[in-house]
């Protein structure tokens, strides 16, 4: 055994931590991840975990401060705020994520097309400029006029409002990446345009996309709340965090918790998504994965 010359052991490359492990190494990111998972679970299991019926009014107990029976108090019609918030998460998150994903994907596609096919660039970007010139609220009004007020109109309006922003960001990032030599090398190899975009251009545009998407999620949730507030989105008695905050404004001086608690909920969700998005971007960057 010892007589035979063993081939020199090759030095092993150190094992690289997985993106998830990288994410959990950062305390704030780990906390955000746990929070986001809990929020999503709560939204999914709303019917099971809500202590009360979110629509049941208790006129003997309106505007109650937090108590043993109503943990977060009751609103102006005596409905349990905690139960309404848990049900409201469904609407708020669903609306925010749906419009972010729909608008973001379409915007990213347009951005990549504009960067990649010079001929389409002018046309596509002028279209995006046109969209940019309308405020999201106006889209909401127009769509509500066409389809009637409701969550579908809100999601469509917010998606359309997200498209040009994402398109601009993706186009800018893609133009930078496409000027680099490894794209030229990829072309010299003879790969298809689709492969070039999906494997080489898109992954290297992820950082700005992540930053924008997490910021935009917060904005979209707030915009959705604003539309609900104007009566174009979630219709009463639907529970939605923004609408709840809006409805509580009448009692801001006598029972501030009705407005403040849902607002804090929005704040915490938006913050958690922002921290998580930031950490996710870092975890997916091989340069920072050591």
């Amino acid at each position: 055994m010892s007589a035979t010359a063993a081939p020199a052991a090759l030095p092993e490359a150190p094992r690289r931590p997985s993106p998830l492990r990288m994410l959990l190494r950062d305390a704030a990111a780990a906390a955000s991840l746990v929070f986001v998972v809990l929020v999503v679970l709560a939204a999914l299991l709303a019917d099971v975990i809500s202590p009360h019926d979110p629509f049941a009014t208790d006129l003997m107990a309106i505007m109650q401060p937090p108590s043993a029976q109503y943990w977060l108090g009751t609103d102006g019609q005596g409905r349990d705020i905690l139960s309404r918030m848990i049900h409201g998460l469904r609407v708020t998150l669903g609306m925010g994520l749906a419009s972010l994903v729909a608008g973001g994907l379409l915007g990213a596609l347009i951005g990549f097309m504009a960067a990649f096919y010079k001929r389409l660039d002018g046309l596509l970007m002028r279209l995006m400029d046109m969209l940019l010139s309308f405020p999201a609220i106006l889209f909401g009004l127009a769509l509500a006029a066409i389809f009637g007020p409701g969550l579908v109109s809100v999601v469509i309006a917010l998606s359309i409002a997200t498209v040009p922003l994402m398109a601009r960001i993706v186009r800018g990032a893609a133009l930078v990446v496409m000027g680099l030599d490894y794209i030229e090398a990829a072309r010299a190899i003879g790969m298809s345009d689709a492969r070039l975009i999906l494997r080489h251009v898109a992954p290297n545009c992820l950082s700005p996309i992540f930053v924008f998407a997490t910021l935009r999620l917060g904005q979209v949730i707030l915009l959705g709340s604003a539309l609900s507030f104007l009566g174009l989105g979630a219709q009463p008695p639907t529970a939605e965090l923004g609408a709840m905050a809006a409805q509580g404004r009448n009692f801001l001086f006598i029972a501030p918790h009705i407005s403040v608690i849902p607002s804090l909920g929005i704040f915490a969700i938006v913050l958690a998504f922002n921290v998580l998005g930031d950490a996710l971007r870092d975890a997916l960057d091989p340069k920072l994965r050591i």
């Binding site: 090759l10 490359a13 010299a188 340069k287």
Partner: protein, 349 residues
């Protein structure tokens, strides 16, 4: 001599310059490459040298059809690649590859090294997964890296190592022609030598032909068989390496050679560098493009554009005194003073 691997004839790339937002009007043309012709044999190295902006890199990209030429032909094994359809172009890409100047921009930072080197084989459907992996290891060894490097990302390597990775990627599909676009000019001098020697060694082993773009004549002197000198989008002189260094015919070539830094202090201060800047390719001077900076320019140079004849594009090629780099004029005053001081110090010691 057998048929050349690569024949370039009258190759040109003109970029229109437009003004106006809606009804854009063409107000001029940048003649980045303007009628370049040369041939390259199998296993040969042709160096393309010239100042920045003279069209070397554009020529390199035209030869690989990474950009579409405005005019001219690029014949690879007799077939004009400027008119190939999609499928044939892909087949051509297996035969001709490129190595880039900047090793920090030429590797996808999100790909492991193994994936970068395996991708060309994947795209061309060469070999199966397992033997591709074996080939990646083989290529890594070939360029002086270790197989375990395949798992790593580009940012974990130095510039010289990255350049080796770039070379391995270019070799993955077993090309016959490799275009080297200033492959060492971004590297430290000590690393330059390693990479240049690696390229020379690979050429010997694999019979590669190199189109070697450079501005550093010292490197060119080491690797090239023949040298083409470019100025403002045109080749002004093309010759065997020895002939060019021993007897540069074009005044521009002479100026370039004279500008090579030399360790001998006696030669210092003897070279008159070229005055002025390279004129804009948007509006190249009429006649010989070099006449604005040429110390020998005459009337004919300002009026008539010289053709490339016997490897030189100059009206006065026959008349100019043979150049050589022999400076027999004695010492420059400063250098003489310093030498005298050294001699004195040595005496006293």
């Amino acid at each position: 001599m057998s048929a050349p691997l690569l024949e370039v004839a009258g190759l040109a790339k003109h970029y229109p310059v437009k003004r106006g937002l809606i009804l854009a009007k063409q107000i001029g043309t940048v003649r980045a490459v303007d009628g370049v012709s040369f041939t390259l044999q199998r296993g040969e190295t042709l160096a393309l040298v010239g100042e920045s902006g003279c069209g070397k890199s554009t020529t390199a990209r035209l030869v690989l059809r990474l950009i579409e030429p405005s005019a001219g032909e690029v014949r690879f094994e007799g077939r004009d690649i400027t008119s190939l359809d999609r499928a044939d172009l892909k087949a051509f890409r297996r035969r001709a590859q490129i190595v880039f100047q900047d090793p920090y921009a030429s590797l996808n930072p999100r790909y492991t090294v193994g994936r970068t080197i395996a991708e060309p084989m994947e795209v061309h459907g060469v070999r199966d997964e397992a033997s591709r992996r074996a080939r990646v290891e083989e290529l890594l060894r070939l360029v002086g890296l270790a197989p375990y490097h395949a798992e790593r990302f580009p940012h974990e390597f130095s510039g010289g190592q990255r350049q080796r990775i770039g070379i391995a990627r270019a070799l993955a599909v077993e090309p016959d022609l490799v275009v080297c676009d200033e492959p060492v000019s971004a590297l430290d001098v000590s690393i330059q030598a390693q990479v240049v020697n690696l390229l020379a060694d690979l050429q010997k082993r694999l019979g590669l032909a190199y189109l070697f773009i450079a501005h550093d004549l010292a490197v060119v002197k080491h690797v090239a068989d023949r040298i083409a000198v470019m100025y403002l989008g045109k080749i002004v002189e093309i010759a065997e390496k020895r002939a060019l260094f021993a007897n540069p015919c074009h005044p521009y070539t002479r100026a370039l050679l004279a500008a090579i830094p030399h360790p001998d202090p006696r030669r210092r201060g003897q070279v008159t560098p070229l005055g002025g800047d390279v004129p804009s390719p948007l509006n190249p001077p009429p006649g010989c493009r070099f006449h604005t900076r040429c110390p020998f320019a005459r009337d004919i140079c300002r009026e008539k554009e010289p053709a490339l004849a016997n490897g030189v594009a100059c009206h006065l090629a026959e008349e100019l005194p043979p150049a050589g780099l022999d400076f027999s004029g004695g010492l420059a005053p400063n250098a003489a003073k310093r030498l005298a001081l050294y001699a004195k110090a040595a005496e006293n010691a």
